[in-house]
């Protein structure tokens, strides 16, 4: 089908240069954001509620005035252009379907106001309806559609115009969990087919990690890190990113570097000489992902071990989560997530670590357990600034080509 061709027209990279937004009353919603989004790339903006994701997206769309900085789409600067002159399409969280129009009219609205020839408009609406499975619903009003169907109509309205870029603001957040997983896959597929530059806003890190070729983590209006999902996970440059990405979340604890060892609680773990901060006798924030732990029995010989007392054991089938107290100061970070996996009702002064281990290991509450840990997977952050103390490994700052990424997904 002709429609599914990959875009070939003009380049549609999006460039943000020092973009800021200050709302009346002095609220800084977006603070000096610089971001280059390549043609055809799928970039996700993720962050806790109120971090300025929607505002940034709306500024790209032209729905919000820019307080400072420049925005370009393709080779054209659009900072002061009206939304309709930017050739972008937007999918709103609420879908924003026109209630007085049928599905057909909703999808065709953009073509109609842009005076596309009638025949072509009809053909394209039909194609999009087929692509999204909306053929039987074309004459219905939005009020008579289910949530998932409305979502697809909203997508269709964006796709039909073949814009330079899609801007999506939490498009799946009003769907129930099961539908969301399905739509997420469809979105990824759709991007592979159409190859349209996409900026996608979400506060759901799973969506961010699965959809984004690159993910930008925002906090308080600033971009903390932009990277591929893998690098965000393995090499967070900031303690907030480290805490935000990954479930269960990374264990963070205050530790002291003492010579070649890290001290936290009553544990002393020798550091990996390849991966350690160049400091001595200093307090750092130590980060250990749950999967850096292993049951001592199945660990390679010589790995440092910890004697722990499990407080909670969760058997998940594929693996088991063991929670154990660590006698050290907990690092509290408000990542704004409802963390059903590790949220604790009990106020706890000391840190509760989680370890993901092989379910065949017979772990039980009240029975001491020996865990091995891999120091090559430690993360260190500055206590004050939260910035990573490890040197950034050189990596492709350029995003992967479209086809490769899609294949990787």
């Amino acid at each position: 089908m002709l429609f599914f061709r990959v875009r070939q027209g003009d380049m549609a990279n999006i460039t943000l240069e020092n973009v800021s937004k200050i709302f009346p009353g002095g609220i800084v919603a977006v603070d000096d954001v610089t971001l280059e989004i390549a043609d055809g790339e799928f970039v996700v903006l993720v962050g806790p509620s109120g971090c300025g994701k929607s505002t940034l997206l709306r500024m790209i769309a032209g729905l919000e005035e820019v307080s400072g900085g420049r925005i370009s789409i393709g080779s054209e600067e659009v900072t002061d252009l009206a939304p309709r002159s930017r050739d972008i399409a937007m999918v709103f969280q609420s879908y924003a379907l026109y209630p007085h129009m049928t599905v057909r009219q909703n999808i065709g609205y953009g073509l109609k106001v842009r005076r596309a020839p009638k025949d072509e408009a009809r053909r394209r609406v039909a194609e999009v309806a087929e692509l999204l499975g909306l053929e039987d619903l074309l004459d219905r009003r939005p009020a008579h559609l289910s949530g998932g169907q409305r979502q697809r109509v909203a997508m269709g309205r964006a796709i039909v115009r073949e814009p330079k870029a899609f801007l999506m603001d939490e498009p799946l957040s009003n769907l129930d969990a099961k539908l969301r997983v399905g739509m997420r896959a469809s979105l990824a597929q759709l991007h592979t087919r159409l190859g349209t530059t996409t900026v996608y806003v979400t506060h759901d890190q799973t969506e961010a990690m699965t959809l984004g070729q690159r993910v930008a983590v925002l906090r308080d209006g600033r971009i903390l890190q932009v990277d591929t999902p893998q690098r965000l996970y393995h090499e967070p440059r900031d303690v907030f990113v480290a805490a935000f990405i990954g479930t269960p979340a990374m264990n963070l604890v205050e530790a002291t570097i003492d010579g070649d060892d890290a001290l936290f609680g009553r544990f002393r773990i020798p550091l990996d000489p390849e991966r350690r901060p160049a400091l001595d006798h200093r307090k750092v924030t130590l980060g250990i992902r749950p999967e850096a732990f292993e049951a001592a029995a199945s660990a390679p010989a010589g790995a440092p071990t910890l004697e722990v007392a499990p407080a909670v054991v969760e058997e998940l089938g594929s693996d088991a989560h063991v929670f154990f107290p660590v006698d050290a100061k907990r690092i509290g970070l408000d990542t704004g997530l409802t963390q059903d996996d590790e949220g604790t009702f009990l106020a706890q002064e000391e840190a509760l670590f989680s370890a993901r281990i092989d379910p065949r290991v017979d772990a039980a509450v009240g029975r001491p357990l020996t865990l091995a840990v891999d120091p090559a997977r430690f993360h260190f952050f500055d206590v004050e600034s939260g910035i990573s103390l490890l040197p950034a490994t050189p990596a492709a700052t350029e995003p992967l080509p479209n086809e490769l990424q899609s294949a990787a997904r």
Partner: protein, 295 residues
């Protein structure tokens, strides 16, 4: 429905309702009261229509004739053949048409400004709109007359139209603003991204969605302009430039009142309002914004 629990809450409803309304006798009392109020409201209308069909002797009979036993149309022919009837019908229609059309256009634009744009003095303007409606009309007759006389608008339909707009607009602007605030902003934004100008989005998306508001306000404007008497009476001197309400006043002369033809004329005058309302009211109940947002 097969659930054994399904019946339980339903069974509780009548019991609760009975208790709240104080038994069957209490409900009967309320119904009777309702009927009495209804009769009170409808009686003058009935009397007007009945009188319009009565013979002169029945109208002035010492024992009231409740129903026109010998119906006649002579009152109607009499009324219609009075001088200037058709000219005044035309005047009324022109005035009402202009007032409804102008008030819709002006109120839409003004409500748009109040609902969608922030500007200095917006709050003050809103307060002013409400405040203006509190001033009694009778207090304004002389000032309005003087202003219109200066502008050379006395004894002209345009002067009456302007005057009526000043009564009608505050209410219509206020009402439409309320309807507009109820339309999610994202709908316009979606239209703008889709390729509309800001104003285009207002016209293509907002305007259809506030349809019920437009209907309600146009009915209001119609009734106000059609039924108004005092200002028209003061402003329009020439018999061929008067409205129907003023024409009705001509049935009362210093030799007395021609009740039969007056009631026939009043019945005829009331007809267009009824027709307009019936034609347009079904659109009010429409909940058009349903399904705009959320799942």
């Amino acid at each position: 429905m097969s659930s054994p629990l399904a019946g339980a809450p339903l069974a509780g409803v009548p019991a609760r309702a009975r208790r709240r309304r104080g038994g069957r006798r209490g409900r009967l009392g309320w119904n009777a009261l309702g009927l009495a109020v209804f009769a009170l409201i409808i009686f003058p209308v009935y009397w007007m229509i009945a009188t319009a069909f009565k013979r002169g002797s029945d109208i002035f009979a010492d024992t009231p004739v409740w129903f026109p036993i010998h119906p006649t149309l002579s009152n109607f022919t009499d009324a219609i053949h009075r001088p200037h009837f058709w000219a005044d019908v035309k005047n009324s229609l022109i005035i009402v048409g202009c007032v409804v059309a102008l008030s819709l256009v002006l109120a839409f634009l003004a409500a748009l400004a109040l609902a969608k744009f922030r500007f200095y003095g917006r709050k003050a303007f809103i307060v002013l709109i409400i405040g203006v409606q509190m001033i009694p009309l009778n207090a304004l007759i002389i000032p309005i007359y003087l202003v219109l006389a200066k502008a050379n608008q006395v004894d002209k339909l345009s002067g009456v139209i302007i005057t009526y707009l000043t009564f009608v607009l505050p209410f219509t602007v206020w009402t439409l603003r309320g309807f507009m605030i109820g339309v999610p902003r994202e709908l316009e934004e979606a239209a703008q991204v889709d390729g509309s100008t800001r104003f285009g989005a207002f016209v293509r998306v907002l305007l259809p969605l506030i349809g019920p508001g437009l209907v309600a306000t146009s009915i209001f404007a119609f009734i106000q302009a059609w039924n108004e008497f005092i200002m028209a009476y003061v402003l329009l001197h020439s018999p061929e430039k008067q409205t129907l309400t003023v024409w009705l006043a001509s049935f009362t002369t210093n030799r007395g009142t021609a009740w039969g033809p007056l009631m026939a004329g009043a019945t005829l005058t009331a007809l267009p309002v009824v027709i307009f309302f019936v034609a347009i009211q079904r659109k009010i109940a429409f909940g058009l914004t349903a399904g705009a947002v959320r799942g």
